[in-house]
Symmetry: C2
Subunit: 395 residues, 2 copies
């Protein structure tokens, strides 16, 4: 059924929570056969929902198959090795050294399968003072400069972003890296080890403008300057909108939309540079005007002048928005265990190899028997593995 660009590739996925699973879900959407190897009590984030299928688990694991194994037993590890023999990718996000300790290090697995792409995702890297610490998303936000970037303009208090950007950005970085290693293998025939640390991924992600002030050695910018002004969210009579004017043409359009012709000749605002120097004042004056009428009123006027603008949507409004509907950004379908659900469509549209939609997240051990059978285990051995508690199969 799968027709995405990753069709025909198999991934043995021991990663948990978010940074790894988000990467492999993107690849599952694109057609990869992802075998999620879970501990007997399941991936931690299953428990965030009563059914073992929390909304977050579904989003980060749709389109995968689940096999539940006791990885503390030799038999459990043997099963993983058998799966690896027929896989293209192995991925884990245990703490550094843990996979080797389990007998699943790169040296061991490449003996079994020299073409294997072996991916390790860590919080802080393989070595160094933080390497063995526990990682949570806020810890990476704190260390990468992200909390500093988001600091309050009123009192400089650092702030967290209220969505787990480090985990998710790492997921995208890992998905691209896996795909690149597979592409390289098509030409060289060789597998390889790929390492991604969340901290590195975040610094790289933030850099182009978030950390750019540190680019020129000896001439570092005062990186806090930009935070002293308010942001581009404006309160109207009945809600919030955003609007911004960078070019002269956009600024002139904004002056007309706001019915402030006198600003057109005001030398404090006459050039991009002047508008930058007087940013705080300009934004305050803009806010005062926008507060005097409704969102719809202003958006219509700003649109007519081709000033970039939009309503600030609440989350429930997002899925009802006309552009989201035209794009089919969100898909609604029946999930066999959950009833009617919504999921985002994979963002990239491939004309010739369209990714899958309506992907289903697995119950714990839902595919244990099927995966073991494919790996060459006979029925008697499978029953023994289950009876001995090495594997769990949900029916």
């Amino acid at each position: 059924m799968a027709s995405g660009p990753l069709t025909g590739f198999r991934i043995v996925d021991l990663s948990r929570v978010l940074s790894g699973p988000i990467a492999t879900t993107l690849l599952a959407d694109q057609g990869a056969d992802v075998i999620k190897v879970e501990p007997l009590n399941g991936d931690l984030i299953r428990a965030m929902g009563g059914s073992g299928l929390s909304g977050t688990f579904v989003s980060a694991n749709r389109g995968k198959r689940s096999i539940a194994l006791d990885l503390h037993t030799e038999h459990g590890i043997d099963v993983v090795k058998k799966l690896v023999a027929n896989a293209d990718v192995f991925i884990q996000n245990f703490r550094p050294g843990a996979a080797s300790g389990m007998g699943l290090g790169y040296e061991v697995l490449r003996e079994i399968n020299p073409r294997l792409v072996y991916v390790s995702v860590s919080g802080f890297g393989e070595e160094g003072p933080y390497a063995h610490k526990r990682v949570y998303d806020p810890v990476i936000q704190a260390l990468s400069g992200m909390a500093d970037i988001q600091a309050s303009s009123e009192n400089d208090r650092p702030r967290l972003m209220r969505t787990v950007i480090p985990d998710k950005t790492t997921g995208l970085t890992v998905a691209q890296a896996i795909t690149a290693a597979l592409l390289s293998r098509e030409r060289t025939g060789e597998g390889q080890a790929v390492d991604v640390a969340m901290l590195d991924a975040l610094v790289s992600f933030l850099w182009p403008e978030g950390l750019v002030g540190l680019t020129f050695v000896g001439n570092e910018a005062n990186v806090k300057r930009g935070q002293r002004t308010r942001d581009l969210i404006y309160q109207t009579k009945d809600g919030y909108i955003t609007a911004g004017a960078l070019s002269n043409r956009e600024w002139e359009g904004m002056c007309r939309a706001l019915d402030k012709p006198e600003w057109l000749t005001d030398e404090r605002f006459s050039t991009p540079r002047a508008r930058g120097m007087n940013g705080a004042l300009r934004l305050e004056l803009t806010a005062e005007v926008l507060a005097t009428n409704t969102s719809a009123y202003w958006l219509e006027r700003l649109d007519a002048e081709e000033v970039p603008c939009a309503p600030v949507l609440s989350r429930p409004e997002v899925i009802e928005h006309e552009q989201i509907k035209v794009n089919g950004t969100v898909t609604e379908y029946d999930h066999p265990h959950l009833g009617r659900i919504r999921q985002p469509r994979p963002a990239a549209k491939f004309a010739a190899t369209p990714p899958a939609t309506e992907q289903v997240a697995p119950l714990l051990g839902e595919h244990t028997r099927a995966v073991l059978t494919e790996a060459g285990y006979d029925e008697a051995t499978i029953e023994t593995l289950i009876t001995d508690g090495v594997a769990i199969a949900s029916e």
Copy 2:
């Protein structure tokens, strides 16, 4: 010299500003030959720095070659077509329809090169009420629910994230999509069109926990609940730290680290569920304790109890941090036109095909002559193109 996993692939890159250039820089780091086709006055973000090489331009264009062409002329378009004949990927982020209007639509270019991967990056998608609007990063933050997610816990005012997450997340999404289309082509022999809209990329990125409350149709969560509590940034006597305890073990460690043994037996905090119900109180009490001593004091105690924690680093502190140094997250090197600069190392480490570091961003038209020569133009024709103003070559 290039040894990354994308070595041997050529990308003709007409994209500008950030969403496209960030994608192609990642691929240039990984060894792709990226030919940046610029208008005669250069990519807009060159102008953010006096030299035409602003910090942001460098980060988003390192490792590329630049050819400057007048794309309003037939000769300029002809050059692009010649480049496409020997390329693997063509990418543009003009407004929908603009590339076709210039004679560079997919139908035209695939006649020239049927194996071409043709990538279009848009703000809102190819159709629909917003398709032809101008896009700025805050507009996508407003429409995708991101500004709602970041709303103030005090007064519900939506807030922007102070780093251009939509542009950069789209860049990662596009880089993966290009790599996937190339991987697919290795098996099928066929090129294809790939479309990515920033709005779609953001909704997909936010969903796993940011929009997850909308997953179950008819049973949508009160998505604002989580914002009523403070975040996990704590002020100490001399700075800010983050610390968090999810599991029972971590919570017990935190009680010991904070010298609050009485919390261990407090039934308001005795289970993850109870701690969730009493989250606001718990965080306030934690903040009160942490305010009584220094960051170093608390971090040492929390570390000893294996509670996830970290100092909140300012941006200048990030590049001095020991873990960042051990990782080599940031590289310092001489740029021929800029002196000593810092750039983030590509996050993913490939053992067999290491990405390039110390990549240089091009001056406008720095590679015009070389690229034209490679495309088969003779010297006389190149001079004519330059004399006629169709191309600019910087020396």
